[in-house]
């Protein structure tokens, strides 16, 4: 089966006063229907920018300089896939895709809704933008959606303003909005970071259930490996704008290859694992994005760096190491 969305060699730059930032630097990803792809990395690694590049909603100073984002057409009538990077970011084409084929759930449920419009208004807007529905029909659909995502008393809550709802409820409303046009790809950008732990689990479960029911693809963006472990089928690990490792979730957690992935996994406490002493953490901090180190970008923090190899030349390329898993590291594939 063909992938729903294929990202090929995507590069996004930000032209800032302080210099150029290559926020996404040659990223390739395949997102398949009915599966969840987890994109994980520390903040500032370019995972959110990747998501925004798919939808073409990059901030004003960001631009795609290279690469393609190919979306399979909705009707399987043999149409060529649409390259989203060639579309006018304000044009009709991409706007028909946004919110309909590809929907997004944002991190901050408080500020992601307009404070002066009811949530129902904002959900209905999404419905009426992409479907031929009257005001009344849209309202009915919105109430159904709110019920679907587990909002109690949906017929009353639909008229609530964001500040009248709890964080969890707001995020449920956000998901309802995103799902309102049965998208084929749901991008969830840190959907649970701002929520309490108990609510987090509920929301993740909800997304997972909806994915299965509707057969959509999910791109789950997070810095939290626990979230990945809970939801993802496949995982891509990002560091400074590049993908450093890609593998099925199980494999990745059982035997991580890249030193960065290993570092990330080691920094999670595991209960009852009989771990001794302190938690390990990755040494140093993420470098300044204006001055990315030469060679492998991770080498200054890497415990296994090879002098004279890792710190010079081009960064290592992402190569398939085993069936279905790739890694970008000089430690592998050197014979």
């Amino acid at each position: 089966m063909k992938n729903l969305v294929e990202i090929k060699n995507l590069e996004v730059r930000f032209d800032l006063k302080e210099g150029i930032v290559r926020a996404v630097n040659g990223v390739s990803l395949d997102i398949a229907s009915n599966r969840t792809l987890g994109l994980v990395g520390e903040s500032g690694c370019g995972k959110s920018v990747t998501a925004r590049a798919i939808l073409r909603i990059l901030p004003a100073r960001g631009r795609i300089v290279r690469g393609n984002v190919l979306l399979q057409p909705r009707d399987e009538d043999g149409d060529e896939p649409i390259d989203l990077t060639t579309l006018d970011p304000q044009g009709e084409m991409i706007r028909r895709i946004r919110g309909a084929d590809i929907a997004m759930v944002f991190q901050e449920p408080m500020t992601s809704f307009s404070p002066v419009h009811s949530v129902g208004n904002q959900i209905c807007e999404n419905i009426r933008l992409h479907q031929n529905a009257s005001r009344k029909e849209a309202r009915g659909m919105a109430i159904d959606l709110l019920g679907l995502v587990g909002v109690p008393n949906p017929a009353q809550r639909i008229d609530a303003y964001p500040h009248e709802l709890s964080g969890g409820l707001r995020q449920r409303c956000m998901i309802a909005k995103a799902l309102s046009c049965r998208p084929r790809l749901l991008i969830a950008d840190e959907p649970t970071t701002a929520l309490d732990v108990t609510i987090q689990a509920q929301i993740l479960e909800l997304i997972d259930r909806l994915k299965r029911d509707q057969g959509m693809a999910v791109l789950m963006i997070t810095h939290d490996l626990a979230v990945i472990a809970e939801t993802a089928d496949d995982v891509a690990v990002m560091y400074l704008g590049r993908i450093v490792e890609q593998a099925p979730a199980r494999t990745l957690f059982e035997s991580p290859l890249h030193p960065y992935t290993r570092g990330l996994l080691k920094s999670i406490p595991v209960l009852g694992s009989g771990q001794q002493g302190r938690l390990e953490s990755i040494q140093g901090s993420v470098p300044d994005p204006f001055s990315v180190p030469g060679g492998c970008p991770f080498h200054p923090r890497c415990p296994d760096r090879i002098k004279g190899v890792c710190d010079i030349g081009e960064p290592p390329e992402l190569k398939e190491e085993e069936e279905g898993r790739s890694v970008a590291c000089h430690l592998y594939g050197r014979g």
Partner: protein, 384 residues
């Protein structure tokens, strides 16, 4: 900002931040708030230029006797409504340095007007540091040296003359003394009032706070322009120039302090909730000391902005009131007093230079607005 501008290190040097780079970064983190503000402010070209120009204005106002070519009250009947003199450089094809031609007064029978023509045969060179009208330097030293002027008591009128033949340029410079200082003094007074009353309100809280806040609300409900006018009208015209001057500043301050008081109170209340204040309190530091240590540094920058933006309003208020003959009155010279002449349409029509004071007022207010905006941006150095 320094760190951001740095060139990415060469791949050879281990990829770590260079020593220089981390130094500058450290400098940024450790820089005092004032340092940061200053850096940010210097970035703001327009504000910086405005500040220098304003300093120049105040400097000239301080030494207006020296900078003004003439005594502002010196009348010259033969120069009534004389137009501004053109400064020439070339006389009969020869470069002669800056000079003016003397004026000859005519009486136009038809229009019943005095008119002036240049006597092109004689050259009056403009000299620097010439002796002219005597003036007392800050009321102390008597001298007669002026920055520019003509020799032998010749009268150099760069911006023309008023009805009594007085030099408008000198009058504007002398007027700046009052108009510019009234803003500063008025703002200073309102600042003191505002800090004290707002401080009491925020520090003691409770009933005191409620009463003061209610009072401020009430005072703010009375429209300021009519109130200013009413208060200014109450100043008896028989009082001396100096007394009227102080009355005016007090009146301006009486109405201006409410804003400052609210800000101070709000800041104190907000500070009480801050974690570091809580921590200090838990450590047994006295309340007043907490306020002094944390509020004052954090708030001074903010106050400077408020004050800078309040000064032009005061200058304008003085100008407006004097213009309406409710404030300062002749023989006091202020920009507002000078503008009274511009009220006469007929006169301005014939003698358009009479509106020169407007240009000065607008320019100074514009400079203050630029400066205030620059400071406001700078006062928030971590933003953007």
């Amino acid at each position: 900002m320094n760190a951001g501008m740095s060139i990415p290190p060469e791949p050879e040097n281990d990829g770590r931040l260079s020593a220089d780079d981390s130094m500058s970064q450290e400098k940024l983190y450790l820089a005092s708030q004032w340092r940061l503000m200053w850096w940010k402010f210097v970035d703001h070209r327009l504000a910086l230029c405005s500040m220098y120009l304003l300093c120049l204005f105040y400097f000239v106002a301080l030494f207006c006797g020296f900078f003004a070519p003439h005594n502002p009250s010196q009348r010259a009947r033969d120069l009534s409504f004389a137009p501004p003199q053109r400064v020439h450089l070339v006389h009969e094809g020869r470069l002669r340095g800056p000079f003016v031609y003397p004026r000859i007064q005519h009486f136009d029978q038809e229009l019943a007007l005095l008119t002036y023509t240049e006597d092109r045969s004689r050259v009056q060179p403009i000299r620097f540091f010439v002796r002219g009208d005597t003036y007392r330097f800050w009321g102390l030293v008597e001298t007669s040296v002026h920055l520019v002027g003509l020799r032998d008591g010749g009268r150099l009128y760069l911006m023309g003359a008023d009805r009594l033949g007085r030099d408008l340029f000198s009058r504007i410079l002398y007027g700046s003394r009052i108009s510019l200082s009234i803003g500063l003094v008025g703002v200073f007074l309102s600042l003191v009032l505002g800090i004290v009353i707002g401080g009491i309100s925020g520090y003691f809280g409770g009933v005191t706070d409620t009463v003061i806040q209610r009072f401020i609300e009430i005072l703010m409900s009375i429209p300021s322009i009519p109130l200013w006018m009413a208060l200014a009208a109450a100043v008896p015209p028989t009082w001396s120039q100096l007394t009227v001057y102080f009355c005016m500043t007090t009146i301006l301050a009486l109405i201006g302090w409410t804003g400052v008081a609210r800000e101070v109170r709000g800041k104190i209340l907000a500070l009480r909730e801050e974690d570091y204040a809580m921590a200090a309190r838990a450590a047994g530091v006295k309340e007043f000391r907490i306020l002094m240590r944390h509020l004052v540094p954090g708030f001074t920058s903010h106050l400077i902005v408020v004050v800078t933006l309040a000064i032009p309003a005061m200058i304008l208020a003085e100008t407006a009131l004097s213009f309406l003959q409710l404030g300062l009155r002749a023989p006091t010279i202020s920009w507002g007093v000078l503008l009274q002449d511009a009220m006469n349409l007929q006169a301005v029509n014939l003698y358009p230079w009479l509106i020169w004071p407007t240009a000065f007022v607008v320019f100074v207010v514009l400079l203050f607005n630029f400066l205030g905006d620059g400071l406001r941006d700078a006062a928030d150095p971590y933003r953007h």
